[in-house]
């Protein structure tokens, strides 16, 4: 059945391949190919090696996208992730500069992230009346504020020696490690979402919290877990961002939350919850990344890139809706 955002097309069993192509994810694959052809056409520099080299910086946002998709599917939202990235990166750099062994630094970074996510989760599950947007807005200000205090008046910290982090940013042949990591994690998150009880619970909570509660799902515990995972993944993103930037400052991770939400929405995940597939979000992320790299190569004004992304975002939801509207009308005429 057509759901809240109306992206599902087929409402009765049909041939599998047709369903695949006609689904939103199928359209995204087509769009992904189209975007790549478009980019190759506009710039002769749009080559595989260049794209691979520019990719790691953008891929850090995909780490945020994965848990953000979970949160959106539950009908929640978290706009503090960018600040969590900032705080974790700050902690990691400060700790590493103090001479703490690299393994411990990795742990500190991930744990800082997870602790922040846990704080969000605790507040939201203790005071269920509070809208997640406002709570995470407040913690967004607080987490970045703590990072500011830690950084002191310089406002930025750089790694005095970057050995450990250089290791993370290493490559196998021409492919950076981070690409493999993204593939593994994306596959893991997708499998958990579609093939485990936990994943189905998220959809249940997103569709109807109360019904899920009466069906015996521990709604608040699940939310707490998902928020903590989000924090953990933000910590991971911070770790990789540090390996690209060799440092952290007060603006690190600015705007990550909006980028991640935009990718998820573009990928067909509804912010109302209960709807959408993670595969869509991942393909959408790569469409946006490729488009950004491609348009960057022709030195397009960044504001125009943002305008294009904004229009794409709205159209990706608007067009299927309009199309469905037309279809419904024609159906009702047929019925008469």
């Amino acid at each position: 059945m057509a759901g809240k955002s109306g992206r599902s097309i087929a409402n009765k069993p049909e041939k599998v391949w047709q369903k695949r192509i006609l689904s939103w994810e199928g359209m995204l694959v087509v769009l992904f190919i189209a975007v790549n052809i478009f980019c190759i056409n506009i710039s002769s520099m749009y080559q595989f090696s260049n794209v691979l080299r520019e990719m790691p910086k953008y891929l850090t946002e995909v780490f945020i996208l994965l848990p953000m998709a979970y949160i959106l599917i539950m009908g929640d939202i978290d706009i503090s992730v960018g600040s969590i990235v900032c705080l974790s990166a700050t902690m990691a750099c400060t700790a590493y500069n103090k001479g703490i062994p690299f393994i411990a630094v990795v742990l500190i970074c991930l744990m800082t992230g997870m602790a922040c996510g846990f704080v969000n989760g605790i507040i939201l599950t203790r005071f269920t009346e509070l809208p997640p947007m406002i709570v995470t807005l407040a913690t967004q200000i607080i987490f970045r504020g703590i990072a500011e205090i830690t950084l002191g008046s310089g406002g930025s910290v750089s790694l005095t020696k970057a050995d450990g982090f250089r290791m993370i940013s290493g490559k196998v042949g021409k492919v950076p490690y981070i690409v493999f990591l993204v593939i593994i994690l994306a596959a893991g998150f997708t499998v958990v979402l579609c093939a485990t009880t936990f994943g189905r619970r998220l959809y249940a909570i997103g569709s109807n919290k109360l019904a899920a509660y009466y069906a015996g799902i521990q709604v608040e515990r699940t939310r707490l877990i998902v928020y903590s995972v989000t924090g953990f993944m933000s910590g991971l993103a911070a770790l990789l961002l540090v390996s690209v930037l060799y440092g952290a400052n007060t603006t690190t991770g600015n705007g990550f939350e909006m980028d991640a939400i935009a990718m998820a929405v573009f990928g067909g995940i509804s912010t109302n919850g209960g709807k959408g597939k993670l595969q869509g979000g991942i393909i959408a992320a790569f469409i946006i990344i490729c488009l950004r790299i491609g348009l960057g190569l022709i030195n397009l004004n960044p504001q125009i890139i943002l305008i294009i992304l904004g229009i794409l975002l709205v159209l990706s939801v608007l067009l299927p809706n309009i199309f469905r509207g037309v279809k419904l009308q024609s159906k009702s005429i047929e019925m008469k």
Binding site: I149, Q303, L306, L313, V317, N321
Partner: protein, 330 residues
């Protein structure tokens, strides 16, 4: 005895009054630390400097009431303000009244597009306005074309924020006017009641003959027009227009509403609440540098205060609900 009880009851049962108590306590605390806070001039300065957030909050109230959200407001404000500024810089339009009309038209158009996409296209408000946020901000940069509008380019327009009428600044008159208008509209007109009806229960409202799409369209256009007014006011108050003005302030505006007890799922909230929420944020912004908190810790303190206020709000609400329940049992 009975009268006393009823006063106590009004205090504990009305969110607005409990928030007012919080505001008074906050102001008292600031005044003890820094006596200059409670002077006429300081308050007028505070109001003038926060008029924009406060006016936008009342527009956001309408949107939150129907269960929507608009995160493109700061961008449409920048677009209309920047356009107004550029028109004055190049001497195309000189009349203050006309400038306001143009900015309101641009803001209204931004709101109309949002409203159409949301009400007719059935796109979720947060998605529609997120896209619009990028687009309008981008357009503001394109309009600015790497220029700022300075005090000298604005000429007499900057005096709009200085001149007084009956001893009160024009800008504050606009603030009062907008609030009075919304207060009346939300309380006593059919339109206002329709907004509440749609927010409380969409289906019921639809069955009782309210055209939901039109109500949605109305609140978004209204927000856009207010953004236009605020764009011009911001240009006038700071005598300068920059394409990145009020960047990221949409969250402050939503926070003002939520602090004021407006529910983000719709149907609950009042004009007085939005006003109080805006005042709390304004007092915090004014007080932080005054009370001598280290510059570096100011953001953290602001975040903590917001968090504490909304959690207090929830606790009050729970107490109210419990009291109501008790009464019913009796």
């Amino acid at each position: 005895m009975k009268k006393n009880k009823s006063i106590l009851k009004t205090i504990t049962t009305s969110r607005e009054i409990s928030l007012l108590v919080v505001l008074v306590l906050l102001c008292a605390a600031i005044t003890i630390k820094s006596p200059s806070f409670m002077t006429y001039k300081s308050i007028i300065d505070m109001l003038r400097n926060n008029t924009v957030t406060m006016i936008m909050a009342v527009g956001m109230l309408g949107i939150l009431l129907i269960g929507g959200i608009d995160i493109s407001v700061a961008s449409s404000l920048a677009l209309s303000g920047m356009t107004a500024g550029m028109l004055m810089k190049y001497g195309v339009v000189k009349n203050v009244f006309l400038i306001f009309l143009i900015a309101m038209a641009i803001g209204g158009l931004c709101g109309l597009i949002n409203g159409l996409v949301i009400s007719r296209g059935k796109v979720l408000p947060i998605i529609a306005t997120m896209g619009a946020m990028y687009v309008y901000r981008g357009l503001a940069y394109l309009v600015a074309n790497n220029e700022w509008v300075s005090a000298e380019d604005l000429g007499t327009f900057s005096s709009f924020a200085l001149d007084k009428f009956w001893g009160i600044n024009y800008v504050i008159w606009v603030l009062i006017g907008v609030y009075a208008l919304f207060f009346v509209m939300m309380k006593w007109t059919r339109l206002g009641r329709k907004v509440y009806a749609v927010g409380s229960n969409k289906e019921a409202a639809s069955i009782s003959g309210i055209n939901i799409s039109n109500v949605e369209l109305f609140v978004y256009v209204m927000m856009g027009i207010l953004a236009g007014i605020c764009g011009t006011i911001a240009v006038s108050v700071y005598s300068s227009a920059q394409p990145n003005m009020l960047y990221g302030k949409e969250m402050d505006i939503i926070a003002a509403c939520v602090i004021g007890g407006v529910s983000m799922s719709g149907g609950r909230g009042s004009v007085a609440g939005a006003l109080l929420g805006g005042l709390v944020l304004a007092a915090i912004a004014k007080a932080l540098p005054l009370v001598g908190i280290e510059a570096i810790a100011q953001n953290t303190v602001k975040g903590v205060i917001i968090l504490v206020v909304i959690i207090l709000n929830v606790i009050t609400q729970r107490t109210i609900d419990r009291n109501n329940l008790k009464e019913r049992e009796i």
